[in-house]
Subunit: 229 residues, 2 copies
DNA sequence: ATTTGCTGTTAATTATTGTTAAAACATGAT
DNA sequence: ATCATGTTTTAACAATAATTAACAGCAAAT
């Protein structure tokens, strides 16, 4: 099962745009090409993309403005800017907005592809479970279901449910882990009682992690929980 | 508490190496410079680094071999390759090994710095990725949903809604944040009651920020609110 | 000036989450 | 099968967050 990644590309130069789209589609990315920032924004709001590539210089709405608006709705989606070589200042500004990468024109399409792959490997790919997570001073071993305090060199055994929940939180670190999702994956059924059971486990995990200031499980009201670190 | 990031740099050209190390240290990165792959590997095994920068062409052990060995021990650590412009094939190989980025010589040190920052923002994610806004004496951490008063060194926890709204205001600092836009992004639906709810949260935010004269949330009649500072 | 519609603020209501403890359930050892 | 132990769920109540209601104040339009 290999889901196709969806790319939102905005580029006002029609020739370059079409060329890029064709290339990206050939490489297996579903690509939507929009000619300016406004249309790009509309497209973004109407479809779920995995990555954005915005030309900086565009009519109606430039790439940075578009990126800001996109960031308001989605803080995580990777954004790559296409920028003219001379504009060093653009690059600085781009990173401030939260660019994931930038690429200066002219560029080879291969180069762009490498960047895309590298980013997707990190962002989407980071959603893949790992064997162990570092939570500040604690190391969480998902296999052994252990939380090791590397400072005092002590260890706490986690129960199955504790471990499963913490693992889900880790996989979604710094993102919201939706209640329903967690309930369906761990408790199978998402009724009222299971939701309360989950709350109980959140309390337990918070106690386990309270020795590390930089790590916290915060509640996102009505949505779920977020492991921040 | 700002932990210094540790960088492992291998580069056989002594002049370039020293220059880079000097620059990176000036930018606040603790940098160890090793002249070849073998010494680089020894250093890696003896210390905990946050990021690696490997020259591809090195005596004794080239950058790719070194990277492969490092990857066996640590699958996550970001690796940036320094490679000669001509060697397009190098780049392909580099990404196969799992490079996070590559940079072709000659390059500007600023450019390298941007790459480093971008990668650290993503991977370590911890310190830099947390979009934090400075509001006069207050520092607003969007991830942890906290408002830190840096003068009294006290902290106030924000609720999810408070945090979301303040974040939108910050993104649009000194510009009008339109009511409808905020309602649609935070409350999803922009009916009368949600609009009143938003007003209540504006009051709450104003209270939170009243300790700082230079920051204010002003109303733009019929349009929305503007965070001025 | 008066009306209408927006905004400011506080308090009451409702919904969600935090926490603790007891009950129910599971598991392996005797 | 029974017991001892640890895990998970349920229950109960406390605390917090979000919405709604109510009324006061202000801004723009007629």
């Amino acid at each position: 099962m290999k889901t196709e990644y969806k790319i939102l590309l905005t580029e006002d130069d029609e020739n370059l745009g079409m060329l890029l789209r064709e290339y990206l589609e050939a490489k297996g990315y579903e690509t939507d090409l929009l000619p300016d920032g406004e249309e790009g924004y509309n497209a973004f709001m109407n479809k779920k993309y995995d990555l954005c590539i915005f030309d900086v210089m565009m009519p109606k709405k430039d790439g940075f403005t578009l990126a800001k608006e996109v960031r308001m709705v989605n803080t995580d989606i990777p954004i790559i800017f296409l920028t003219a070589k001379s504009m060093k200042e653009d690059i600085v500004q781009g990173f401030k907005i939260g660019a994931d990468d930038y690429i200066t024109k002219p560029f080879s399409m291969k180069e762009l592809l490498f960047r895309i792959e590298a980013i997707l490997r990190r962002t989407v790919g980071s959603n893949v479970a790992q064997a162990a997570y570092q939570l500040g001073r604690y190391k969480f071993d998902t296999q052994k279901q252990q939380l090791i305090d590397e400072q005092s060199d002590s260890m706490v055994k986690l129960t199955t449910k504790e471990s499963e929940l913490l693992k889900l939180l880790c996989i979604n670190a710094n993102k919201v882990l939706e209640r329903n999702f967690a309930l369906k994956t761990i408790w199978v059924d998402d009724n009222y009682f299971n939701a309360r059971s989950m709350d109980v486990y959140i309390t337990k995990l918070r106690k386990h992690l309270k020795g590390e200031e930089s790590v916290a499980i915060i509640n996102v009201h009505g949505k779920g929980y977020k492991l921040v670190m």
